[in-house]
């Protein structure tokens, strides 16, 4: 079941992560929870995909990381959107909307 969800997420994972981070900096587990929350539980991102994606985005400069003390008093790695990341979010949102519109039109035409 999980596998199937991951398949569905491929390509959209970056967008979801960027979206989840657009309000405030979060650590990895919190990002995962935020995604579940904003998709109303439809998507559950596996950590096996989430962490590589975060590190990749960090190297690309879309997010930056800092070590902070978490709510339970532990040192945690928080990810924050950079300016570049916000730009990327806009691009990905626009692309996504375009795809959705196209797909919807296509589905309705049949």
């Amino acid at each position: 079941m999980d596998d199937k969800k991951t398949e569905l997420l491929r390509g959209t994972l970056d967008l979801l992560v960027l979206k989840a981070l657009c309000l405030e900096p979060l650590h990895g587990v919190a990002i995962s929870q935020r995604i579940r929350q904003i998709t109303k539980g439809a998507f559950q991102v596996s950590f096996g995909s989430l962490f590589p994606a975060l590190h990749r985005m960090e190297e690309r400069g879309w997010v930056e990381a800092e070590w902070r003390v978490s709510e339970n008093n532990r040192r945690a790695k928080y990810y924050r959107l950079t300016r570049q990341g916000r730009g990327q979010l806009k691009i990905e949102e626009r692309d996504w909307n375009r795809v959705v519109k196209a797909m919807t039109t296509a589905m309705q035409s049949a």
Binding site: H27, G28, V29, S46, F47, G48, S49, F51, P52, A53, H55, R56, E58, E59, R60, G61, S70, N72, R74, R75, A76, K77
Partner: protein, 865 residues
């Protein structure tokens, strides 16, 4: 971009910090998930277990993160290389065998390629070399073109409009006297503009002027730089002085670079003006080279000069049947060595393929053993791509080490090339390890690495860990088909090489058993051709007989004589003979040779009828001659020739009286049938040549004594070249011998490698089936049956391989046709022997491997593993 560069830097150089951060991040994640689960009411240990499951395995996540990092590729490569090196060091036996095999394969290929590159591929190094053409004479019998007469050369130069420059050159030898003992020098004679074609500038002085290149004016000389250093110590004062060549003075006007490259002319000590004589119109040894005008094609030049030739033929009747051929100078220089070297290149390429197949097989055997390791690595998160790359890195590592050693081998081989005396290799001085060769060697190494690494790499599969680990032994060897195919290919390639070598052996044996018509062993030859104004024919004769008398007194000498040419020298001096008194046929085109008394005895030519020539025949008229058996057949059919008179086209000699009949001798060449011969007393002709002496076997080296004798008779005579008839014969068979040595070495290596290959695969099969054999024997199977079982599987491979090889050989050995003598390239006997040799060797290898199967003790076999 900057962030990625920083990332790369961090990942490569601050790896520990990066890894520690990742650890911290994941530990924190596990903790926070655990706390969550505990809040939901789970026990701490259960909460932690669930958290780890939710995370999906810390190591897998880590591997996932690592794989997206920048520079990951580079880092992995480094790791793979280190790991590969460790593996290679851990299996020194395998590594040494593989590296040596590869070094041989790559080294031989690189060496042969560097020769082919220098000789065949690279353009000639003269300026505008693509426009340089050889202009050759042709005849009805010889369409391939030969050197031209001086008069024809001058007419081409004057009348043809297709060329910017038409230059000519010929080579000869002259006697240099006036500085201690006379020396024989090799001389190049060129027209004045020849050097501009080659782009050669003098290092001292100047080149010939146009006026100096006129008949009767050319008393100037250029010295080769090497000769100048050797004989004059590089003294500039020699310019303007005269040197005496053939008794005439030549003023030295310049010094040339020591490394002039033009066919064999590069070795000339002194260069003189050609000063071509327009009235010499037949025969001739002038090499004519022209540079096409810009925009003129070879075809246009050919058409134009053919028209010119027709005009020349109208003006000079003797030229009316001469044709002309324009071909790129490169083709003329390279000649038929192109085919030879391309064939050799093909043979070494086959050898390299066999090497590759062999190592691929070895690697596959190993990788089957490493299945478990691969499965474990795959389950720990290594992607298939990563594992394939690891395998390829290992094989390329091997081939690179092999390549580096091979380069060393190639350098040594290339250095040995000049010592090949088998035949003149054109452009030999250009053969070197240049960057093209280095690049090719690098490509070869990489390509072979990938080629033999591909097979084991394809075996890498993301197998299910549990199946692999549960299996007691790797019982289903992966890629068995592939390995069998590799062995089959190896056997087939080895057979192709072997049949090439077999044909060469066959051909050489026939050459060695040719009946020459004379006894070639224990005959010393002394070259007494020299030019000097002091010596006319009579005085040379006198000198020769003086020398002969001296030599006949030396220890171990049995008989001494003299002649103008030696057998196998391929010098034509045809005489058109007919029987006197019969104007009608039969006529006979016989080869004339001038000989002194005792010649038959020295050469071991049998006297069949009549008498030998003697001293009294020096002046006797009519000129007494000996004729060969086949000349008798042509001229007299069955009648008795003794005492009959013959007429030739040389009126001053006519008539000739037959006094004896002798056996046929191969004069023109080893593989040419003996032509009819007429032997004339040396004293009655005008030519001189060689003093020949038959010695007792093991008579020792007479060279020093002979040179001393020459010096004692006249110090102005250059030291003669001393040889033996055996050497002349060896020169004739040097080429086939060289081919045989080369192909033989390749074939031997190929067969050994193929045998090792099939041994490997059978031995491996036996090792895998040890248990099975144990059970079979425990159930009552006899050793014989087990042996049959194992040999049967080997035999199948051998038969397929040999059959394929046979088919390929039949197609490929046709390329050898020109190198073979009296052996057809599909000679059934050779193929039969070769087939038997290869299958026999391979079967033996199988048998040795199979014997281990029979030696299995059922008890041990069943308990193993």
């Amino acid at each position: 971009m900057l962030s990625r560069a920083l990332g790369l830097f961090r990942n490569l150089f601050r790896k520990d910090a990066v890894e520690r951060a990742l650890d911290d991040e994941l530990r924190f994640s596990v903790e926070i998930l655990t706390e969550e689960k505990m809040r939901a009411g789970l026990s701490p240990s259960e909460a932690r277990r669930r958290a780890l499951i939710e995370l999906g395995g810390i190591d897998q996540v880590k591997e996932g993160v690592r794989s997206v990092r920048v520079g990951r590729w580079l880092e992995d490569l480094g790791k793979d290389v280190r790991f590969g090196l460790r593996l290679l060091l851990r299996n020194p036996g395998f590594t040494v065998v593989a590296v040596i095999t590869l070094a041989l394969g790559i080294g031989a290929n690189t060496a042969v390629f560097s020769i082919v590159n220098a000789v065949v591929i690279r353009p000639l190094y003269y300026p505008d070399s693509d426009r340089l053409m050889a202009i050759l004479s042709t005849s009805q019998n010889n369409k391939s073109g030969f050197t031209s007469a001086p008069g024809v050369f001058l007419d081409w130069r004057d009348r043809s409009t297709s060329f910017e420059v038409v230059a000519g050159a010929r080579s000869t030898t002259m006697t240099w006297s006036g500085a201690g003992q006379a020396q024989r020098l090799s001389i190049a004679m060129t027209s004045f503009d020849f050097f501009s074609l080659l782009g050669v500038q003098p290092v001292q002085g100047r080149l010939f002027s146009k006026d100096e290149d006129q008949l009767g004016h050319g008393a100037v000389a250029l010295l080769n730089g090497g000769f100048w250093q050797r004989e004059f110590g590089g003294d500039e004062k020699v310019l303007g002085k005269s040197i005496i060549l053939n008794g005439a003075p030549f003023q030295v006007i310049g010094v040339l670079p020591p490394d002039i490259r033009f066919a064999h002319f590069g070795r000339a000590d002194v260069w003189l003006p050609l000063a071509a004589n327009r009235s010499f119109r037949t025969g001739g040894d002038v090499v004519v080279v022209g540079r096409l005008r810009r925009g003129v094609t070879q075809q246009a030049a050919q058409a134009e000069i053919e028209t010119v030739m027709l005009g020349i033929g109208r003006d000079h009747k003797e030229d009316s049947r001469t044709g002309v051929l324009v071909e790129p100078l490169h083709d003329w220089v390279v000649g038929d060595t192109r085919l030879v070297f391309l064939t050799i290149l093909g043979a070494v390429a086959f050898l390299l393929l066999i090497c590759c197949a062999n190592i691929a097989n070895l690697l596959m055997t190993r990788s089957t053993v490493r299945q478990r390791e691969m499965a474990i690595r795959a389950s720990l998160g290594a992607s298939r791509l990563r594992l394939v790359r690891q395998t390829l890195v290992e094989s390329v590592l091997l081939s690179s080490i092999g390549g580096i050693l091979g380069l060393g081998l190639a350098a040594a081989l290339i250095r040995a090339v000049p010592s090949i005396h088998a035949f003149r290799i054109p452009r030999i001085e250009e053969i070197a390890m240049d960057h093209t060769v280095l690049i090719i060697a690098a490509i070869l190494s990489l390509a072979t690495g990938v080629l033999f690494g591909l097979a084991p790499a394809l075996q890498v599969r993301n197998r299910d860990l549990t199946t692999v680990l549960r299996a007691q032994a790797p019982s289903r060897p992966g890629g068995r088909q592939l390995r069998n195919a590799l062995v089959v290919v190896q056997l087939a390639l080895a057979l192709v090489l072997l049949s090439g070598a077999g044909l060469m052996v066959n051909s050489l044996v026939r050459l060695l058993h040719i009946d020459l018509g004379y006894e070639r062993s224990n005959v010393v030859t002394i070259d007494t051709t020299f030019n000097s104004r002091k010596y006319d024919h009579g005085r040379i004769m006198e000198f020769q007989r003086q020398l002969a008398a001296e030599v006949s007194r030396m220890p171990g000498v049995e008989a001494v004589s003299a002649s103008d040419y030696l057998p196998l020298m391929a010098v034509l001096f045809p005489m058109n003979l007919r029987v006197a008194g019969t104007d009608i046929l039969p006529k006979c085109k016989a080869l004339a040779r001038h000989i002194d008394p005792n010649y038959l005895r020295v050469m071991g030519i049998p006297l069949l009828r009549g008498r030998d020539l003697g001293l009294a025949d020096d002046t006797r008229k009519p000129v007494p001659v000996l004729i060969s058996k086949n000349a008798v057949r042509a001229l007299f059919d069955t009648g008795d020739p003794i005492g009959k008179h013959l007429l030739s086209q040389y009126r001053e000699l006519n008539p000739l009286e037959v006094v004896g009949v002798v056996g046929d001798v191969r004069q023109i060449g080893l593989t040419k049938d003996p032509s009819p011969q007429v032997y004339i007393p040396l004293a009655q002709g005008r030519s001189t040549g060689y003093v020949v002496a038959r010695t007792a076997p093991h008579a020792g080296d007479l060279s020093a004594a002979i040179r001393a004798a020459v010096r004692a008779i006249d110090p102005e005579v250059p030291a003669p070249e001393i040889g033996t008839l055996d050497e002349w014969f060896d020169r004739e068979i040097a080429k086939p011998r060289f081919y045989l040595a080369l192909l033989g070495a390749f074939a031997a290596l190929g067969v050994i490698l193929a045998a090792v290959g099939i041994y490997g695969i059978i031995a491996y099969g036996v090792a895998l089936r040890t248990q099975e054999f144990g059970i079979r024997m425990a159930l009552g199977a006899e050793r014989k049956h087990i042996l049959q079982l194992v040999l049967g599987s080997g035999l199948r491979l051998i038969c397929i391989g040999a059959a394929l090889g046979l088919a390929a050989s039949l197609a490929l050995t046709r390329l050898l046709t020109t190198m073979l003598y009296e052996v057809r390239p599909n000679d059934p006997l050779t193929f039969g022997c070769v087939f038997a040799l290869l299958t026999g060797t391979a079967l033996l290898a199988c048998y040795i491997a199979a014997r281990r199967a029979v030696g299995v003790d059922p008890n041990v076999a069943l308990r193993c593993e």
